[in-house]
């Protein structure tokens, strides 16, 4: 590449800046982000300290104590359980539903395209606002869904304000917002698959369930993996929907990682514990995002290769 550029009019100033050019171009973006990286290291330090905003005098390094305390801390295990339940429930349902809808809309037609664009609307809704919409619909006084639940014989169905059904309610909101994400990626994937295998199978009269399991699914796997990993990473960090809906309540029924850390920081002002919680969440997402990026890159290369 640089060989060609030396063919350009010889200009000393130009040649020097040529080698520096990529750094000059990318450095500002990097610097802006590094500014935000510093707090990351601060968070590592905080997580190793006994640090409460209410008792600044007692601040000192206690090394791994915040982490060790988690072992015998039932509310930490509750956080882990609630976060994992939320992530698996939402992504599981979204995957099945998203795949189903993508298959329904697979054929290119004016109607199908229209529906798929309409279905993107929930995804374009800010999750926090989506939670408020569902809050209005599940209000015990006038909520339309409370009314429907009543009609179906679930009297006093209290949605997010009942510890029994709070998880169900936020999972429904998450499914409403994010199913279109999986749907749209899988739809793009389905439509980009080569047609020959399907034509051959149709000629041979292969049963359609067999085609689905042996041709469609394997060819769709890179798209499935990318979509699912992306969602798992986001879902285990969910904050907006849960905070806007119940602020982690009732009780501790929805204190997922980020909500618990937020409450620890701002309500009990326990910075040390809050930071340690975030470090554990970061470790989980770091692990997942490494797998994700590998898959995502492979898919990116492949799609670029075809384009």
């Amino acid at each position: 590449m640089s060989d060609v550029s030396t063919g350009a009019p010889p200009r000393r100033r130009f040649k020097v800046s040529r080698r520096m050019l990529p750094y000059v171009l990318s450095l500002p973006a990097l610097l802006v982000c590094i500014g935000i990286l510093i707090p990351f290291f601060t968070a590592v330090l905080y997580s190793l300290q006994r640090y409460r905003l209410s008792q600044p005098w007692a601040r000192k390094f206690n090394w791994g104590e915040n982490y060790l305390n988690f072992l015998s801390d039932s509310s930490f295990w509750n956080t882990l359980k609630v976060s994992l339940t939320y992530a698996f429930a939402t992504v599981g349902i979204e995957l099945l539903l998203g795949l189903g809808i993508a298959l329904l809309l697979q054929k290119r037609s004016r109607f199908n395209n229209f529906v798929s664009i309409m279905l993107l609307m929930p995804l374009m809704t800010a999750p926090a606002l989506a939670a408020l919409m569902w809050k209005l619909m599940t209000n015990p006084g006038f909520g339309i869904l409370s009314y429907f639940a009543d009609l179906l014989g679930f009297t006093n169905f209290n949605w997010a304000s009942d510890p029994q059904t709070a998880m169900l309610t936020v999972v429904i909101v998450d499914v409403w917002v994010y199913t279109p994400f999986i749907m749209i990626l899988l739809l793009a994937g389905l439509r980009s698959l080569p047609q020959q295998p399907f034509e051959a199978a149709a000629l041979d009269g292969v049963p359609r369930w067999f085609v689905f399991y042996r041709i469609t699914l394997p060819m769709l796997t890179p798209f499935l993996l990318t979509a699912v990993l992306f969602r798992v990473i986001e879902s285990i960090q969910q904050f907006d929907i849960i905070y806007a809906m119940t602020q982690g309540g009732p009780g501790d029924s929805l204190t997922v990682f980020q909500v618990e850390a937020y409450l620890n920081f701002f309500q009990s002002t326990n910075v040390g514990r809050s930071a340690a919680l975030m470090m554990i969440l970061w470790a989980i997402t770091f692990f997942l995002s490494n797998i994700f990026i590998k898959n995502w890159l492979r898919l990116r290369e492949r799609q670029r290769g075809e384009a």
Binding site: L21, L104, M118, A126, F142, W176, F198, Q303
Partner: protein, 285 residues
């Protein structure tokens, strides 16, 4: 797949109807609520037939919440302005920083380029609170707490990776030969970038900007942690609004509709690029 039995067609029809119902009903219902007075909202059983009123929207726009007993000032329009200002400026800054970097990553492979690109990407996946909590303390020391500048800076965490990776893909799709030819004709790097690369990647840059705008607009957690009432965007403002307005449900619904309408409009406009944006440039729609 061309042979469909009547039974299958009926089942497909039912399935699609249910899907549309589940995903569209909430939006439909909140739109209805936004045109209702509190009296009709509280009616049991709920009805879709009522006399529509514009008082909710009027109240939000004029900033005066008038009830039977009192009059309350609401700053919802201020929140709307904050959303608009924060998202627009963040995207502008993101473009200025991100487009040249994207070009560097796409064209001028250099030592460490992939590492830097992936580091920038990984910001997209780190838990936001991990950075935000220490940042609240730093921002207070730096005087950036509750400033637009501080927020716009933090917004780069969502805006930059998106712009960088989408635009990079578009630059990679431009045949390098076009640029070389122009360079050999004696033009400087900067002219080539401006006259050739930028226009050719134009659609990609526009798409990335629109998507980044949507993501910035929909963000909740940054402003919740770092901004107080006068700087809050609609996502955070709406939450506070619910507690402040008490039981003015129609107004809350109208506020939600006003807050999601801009992103809907942009999404419709940019729908061709949504798949690409949502997959950070990996999947083409």
């Amino acid at each position: 797949m061309n042979t469909t039995s009547p039974l299958e067609r009926v089942l497909r029809g039912i399935a699609i109807t249910l899907v549309i119902l589940f995903f569209m009903f909430p939006i439909f219902w909140i739109v209805l609520m936004s045109f209702q007075t509190n009296a009709t909202i509280l009616q049991v059983p709920p009805s879709i037939f009522f006399e529509p009123t514009l008082q909710n929207y009027r109240g939000l726009i004029t900033g005066q919440l008038v009830t039977d007993t009192s009059s309350l000032e609401i700053k919802f329009m201020g929140n709307l302005f904050n959303s608009l200002f924060l998202s627009t400026t963040s995207v502008a800054v993101g473009l200025v920083l991100g487009v040249p970097a994207a070009y560097a990553f796409a064209r001028l492979k250099f030592r460490g380029s992939e590492d830097i690109a992936f580091t920038l990407l990984s910001f997209r996946f780190a838990p936001p609170l991990l950075v935000l909590l220490p940042l609240t303390i730093y921002f207070q020391q730096l005087g950036l707490a509750n400033t637009y500048g501080g927020l716009i800076w933090v917004y780069q965490l969502i805006v930059l990776p998106l712009i960088l990776w989408i635009v990079r893909g578009y630059f990679e799709d431009i045949p390098a030969d076009i640029e070389y030819a122009y360079r050999i004709a004696g033009h400087r790097w900067w002219t080539t970038f401006r006259k050739i690369a930028l226009p050719l990647a134009g659609p990609g840059i526009a798409a990335a900007a629109l998507l980044a705008f949507i993501f910035a607009w929909n963000n909740f957690i940054f402003a919740l942690v770092l901004a107080s009432a006068d700087k809050q965007p609609v996502t955070v403002g709406a939450l506070a609004f619910i507690t402040a307005s008490g039981v003015q449900y129609g107004q809350i619904a109208a506020g939600i509709i006003l807050s999601i309408a801009p992103t809907f409009a942009l999404a419709l406009y940019a729908q061709r690029y949504l798949v690409e944006g949502l997959s950070l440039g990996a999947v083409k729609g």
